[in-house]
């Protein structure tokens, strides 16, 4: 496949999916995040391999990028292209992760759009720091995030199990995701 895939169809498709997601289509949003995750994974693997720093942080970068994409959706201009915006966020998170490992000089990071053509699947054994960070949230927030992510329950099921209203679960979930992002950030010097 050519290196220019990102300029064409897949980018426009992503932009369309993001618009649908912002309008509230949860299924499309999930698919979009999965596709973006696979491309960011390839970008992070390449960057860490070139920096010879192993790939222990790859899944952290993928998850931090997805979380940032989610929390910063407002900063996308809503235009025809999504890949440059995603690539900039991923690059920011890759550099953060390298800095965390004590890197001072950075190898050039491959352009995100050239690797859209070669996505990588998740390593079933890879784990991120997220679980450890979630453990530090307040008990109620921790239960909600675990219920929805690790246990795969819906908002409705989680609300019923914790005897909360669905609205309260949504609010708590959103706040927890913000706290998770800031906990991750606090790992960086």
């Amino acid at each position: 496949m050519s290196a220019s895939v990102g300029d064409g169809q897949s980018d426009e498709k992503w932009a369309g999916m993001m618009r649908a997601a912002i309008a509230g289509d949860e299924a499309v949003y999930r698919r979009l995040l999965e596709e973006i995750g696979r491309s960011v994974r390839a970008m992070a693997r390449g960057a860490f391999a070139r920096a010879r720093s192993g790939d222990a942080d790859v899944e952290d970068v993928v998850q931090e990028t997805l979380l940032a994409i989610h929390l910063k959706r407002n900063s996308w201009d809503g235009g025809l292209r999504l890949a440059p915006w995603v690539g900039a966020i991923a690059r920011h998170k890759i550099i953060d992760a390298m800095r965390r490992r004590g890197a001072r000089r950075f190898q050039p990071i491959e352009d995100f759009e050239t690797i859209l053509a070669a996505p990588e699947a998740e390593d079933p054994h890879a784990r991120s720091d997220a679980e450890r960070l979630i453990a530090k949230l307040a008990p109620r927030q921790r239960d909600i995030v675990r219920s929805i992510s690790l246990d795969g329950h819906s908002i409705a099921a989680t609300a019923a199990r914790l005897s909360m209203s669905e609205g309260a679960v949504r609010v708590a979930l959103h706040r927890s995701l913000k706290l998770l992002a800031s906990a991750w950030r606090s790992l960086s010097p």
Partner: protein, 212 residues
């Protein structure tokens, strides 16, 4: 945690609500400036001879200078909230306040005899200028930083510094109507110094508050 599990949590989080980034930024700008105007009227207010002063070129030029700083700073601060933003040609607009001020200084030096340069430069209330401009900057800077936390700037320090420049530009515009010193020699020395203080505070705050 596996990435697919995180995606479950993200997909369950409802769609973003409320104002766009640009609307938040403009709202913060407006509210911050309004607070600054109120504070200015409470502690200083425009100078008594403003009606006469408004007919002099030196007085009017002060406002052109301060707005020439505030405007490009605001446009660039807003643009750089996007992670994939490029500053582009907008950076050239920052030359405007310096060119304007530089030209005014040269003109002043040719118009005013050399033995008056010192007095014009020192003016009558330099300390006042250094205190009031940062003071009037507090509200707009705080409001802007708060709104900018929704963004994702590549360089949080630069974004914070730009917020500082916007705030200082607003503050200096207000203060210029009170300040009795209109000579470009005074404006070119003390206003930038006061601005620099606010820009430095903005940069330091940006590094802390605008990280993402």
């Amino acid at each position: 945690m596996k990435t697919s599990q995180l995606i479950d949590a993200l997909a369950a989080d409802p769609k973003p609500q409320g104002l766009s980034l640009g609307a938040r930024f403009c709202l913060a700008l407006g509210l911050g400036a309004l607070a600054s105007v109120c504070l200015f009227l409470a502690i200083a207010g425009p100078r008594a001879d403003i009606a006469t002063a408004a007919h002099t070129l030196r007085f009017d030029l002060k406002f052109v200078d301060t707005l020439a700083l505030a405007l490009p700073s605001a446009l660039l601060a807003l643009r750089l909230l996007r992670p994939d933003a490029r500053p582009g040609a907008l950076v050239l607009a920052f030359l405007a306040p310096f060119l304007l001020l530089g030209a005014a200084v040269v003109a002043e030096l040719t118009l005013v005899p050399a033995d008056l340069w010192g007095a014009k430069l020192i003016g009558t209330n330099a300390v006042h200028c250094l205190a009031i401009i940062p003071l009037l900057s507090i509200a707009p800077l705080a409001a802007l930083l708060f709104a900018m936390r929704e963004g994702a700037p590549q360089n949080p320090g630069v974004a914070g510094a730009l917020a500082g420049a916007v705030a200082a530009g607003i503050a200096a515009t207000l203060y210029a109507s009170n300040c009795p010193d209109d000579s470009p020699l005074f404006v070119a020395s003390w206003y930038p110094l006061a601005t620099l203080i606010v820009v430095a505070v903005g940069a330091a705050a940006g590094v802390r508050l605008l990280r993402w």
